[in-house]
Amino acid sequence: MRTLFFLLRKEFRQIFRDKSILAMIFIMPSIQLIIMPLAANYDVKNINLAVVDNDHSSYSRRLIAKVGSSGYFRLAAYAPSFRQGLRLVEDNKADLVLEIPNGFERNLVREGSQQLSLAVDAINGTRASLGGAYLTRIIADFNQGIRLEWQSPPSAATIDIASSNWYNPLGEYRFFMVPAILVLLLTMVGGFLTALNIVREKEIGTIEQINVSPIQKWQFILGKMIPFWILGMIVFTIGLIIARVLYGIIPVGSLPTLYLFAGVYLVALLGFGLLISTYSETQLQAMFVAFFFIMIFILMSGLFTSLDSMPPWARYIAYCSPVTHFIEVVRMIVLKGSGLADVSRQLGYEVIFAVVLNTWAILNYHKTT
């Protein structure tokens, strides 16, 4: 126990001596948490629309006005021809081209049917499909309006749909992103720092002194882990404060549950970092291995894309990452007020990760090279 205490004192001194590392640990995540949620906004609005109106009739003008006032679209330009509209798409100035053909109004009245053409820049999948869907819906609405004008009220059956959005009634994207970004930052700080830690001593040569000392393996690993665990919890707390003060996100669920989960998660994550460190020979190696895994963890975590839309094999990989469960749980507790019982399955996973990764790291740390 005394040995561990001395080790801890040494580690803390080492961390606090290097002011630039301290800045990396505390200031960088804070700044990123302040700025990132503003950028990670997937609200699909302000879709740039180029309109080619070949009809210039009162109906075509009404349709355009309706599209413009929907709040989703911004009329980027009126193009004189479809070709010119396409040029705007090529230059990234428009996402969609709506072409109203010559004789639109006349055909609609006389023949009862008229086509409109939409050209969507389909490279950007979400924007394209959502934009196309919005526009189609607005056109359908407009269509309905015309029908009501020209026909007596229909006797057909209608189904009214009342939709309500729970847990985030205004549909604000930051409520979804801020908790996840907090997890991300914590993961990067914890993962990268611990991954670099042991290998640094190897590279500089100081690990020899520890190896010849009577320090036990587990003491050494614990000595490396506890300081970063404490730093991680502080970063997490700072993050929660920023989320609250700046973004008005107050966890609906209980804070102790959140902290319990964060605590267990950090043990798992730090174990992972140390494991990488014991396998690496240079800091550059450790960094790239950590980057490799953390990048995959992040991409597969459900942070940016939904887990539901992944094929089964990918979902299994995603479940094998501690990050996935933590992001899910932080969103659950913070936004929905889920309790300990609701997240017990995920907590179980984290405990398993923590035990396996740390045992592995201790076993893989050899005192002789």
């Binding site: 630039s20 990396m24 960088m28 503003l38 906004n41 609200d43 302000n46 230059d91 049917s113 008229q114 409109l116 939409l118 050209a119 820049d121 490279i123 999948g125 979400t126 394209a128 959502l130 869907a133 359908a140 269509n143 029908r147 026909q151 006797s155 057909a156 059956a157 189904i159 009214d160 749909i161 009342a162 939709s163 309500s164 959005n165 729970w166 985030n168 549909g171 409520f175 970004i181 990067m188 590279e203 690496s280 800091q283 550059l284 790239f288 291995v289 980057f291 490799f292 990048m295 991409l299 597969m300 939904s306 839309s309 992944m310 094929p311 990918a314 936004l335 929905k336 889920s338 609701d342």
Partner: protein, 369 residues
Amino acid sequence: MKQLLVFIRKEFYHVFRDRRTLLILFGLPTAQILLFGFALSSEVKDVNLAVVDFAKDNASQQIISRLQASTRFRLQRSLLSYSEMETAFRRNTIKAALVIPTNFNRDLLHTGRGQLQIIADASDPNAATTITNYLTAIVGDYQQELNQAAGALPYQIVPETRMLYNPDMNGSLNFIPGVLALVLMIVCTTLTSVAIVREKELGTMEILLVSPFRPLLVLIAKAVPYLVLSLLDFTLILLLSVFVLNVAIQGSVVLLYVVSTVFIISCLSLGLLISNVTASQQVAMLASMMGMMLPTLLFTGFMFPLENLPGPLRLVPNIVPSHWYYLVVKAIMLKGLGFEAVWKETLILGLMAVVLLGISLRNFKIRLT
């Protein structure tokens, strides 16, 4: 000149000795391309949906069987009450619920109006909107079919949608330029960020300082092996996209290589700059990885629409090299545009390289004296 070649050869040895880092360098883009290509999509499908069916009549059965037929939803029908539904939301086992009230069919037949309620978990606002849209469309189809008896609807506006550049809606199309930009940016910057600081930390810098090399030559010699590596990395990603993900290169491959070289040089210069101003490998790597990863992910433009950036943040992508590169790759690779469409972006990347290299050179000189 001969000196330079010898020096470059020495640096090559350094780089190629570290097999593990090399493995990661090529493993990382491979894994990312495969993940983006096969595992990640922003599409909404297989959403867990609960139907709370209080009606249990003919009409509700009809709607339920339509939902079952859709691949968008996975139906959970065992839920019988509101409270069960709430628990399911808190446990994260459902994303949305459709509530069908008692007497749904009778109301529809007698009064011509039926009421449905959609409840969506809006902690993920985009998913909630999309799910609500899909559900509304399915119910709308059903309603249309009910009304089919009254004959075809008059005054029909039929939107005809064309998907430009990506008729099959291949989801990986948008990601490939993004992954290229992201991987090259992070890998190049991190690689060179340790190049100089490593020598400082290990003490070999002294030897360099007393050698007759000019600072510029030192920087060039350090950067050349990484340029070669990065171009190999780039080639690998291109091959994977074409042969594994079936994304054809529409434009000129030569042009693509030219622009990529310019982009890589600007990233390498950024790395050298970081290497010059930091005191330890640890700080250099944390700065280049942790400091760059999120901003690159967010400001490149392939994850989140840059149009949503608020006020001054909208200027940030302009100083992020990967943003310009992403635009160029999209234009050349996917849209098949030529040099006249991308010269501006290429010029900006070139200027960035010159400026960054200039600054690092100045910093390097200062350290020499």
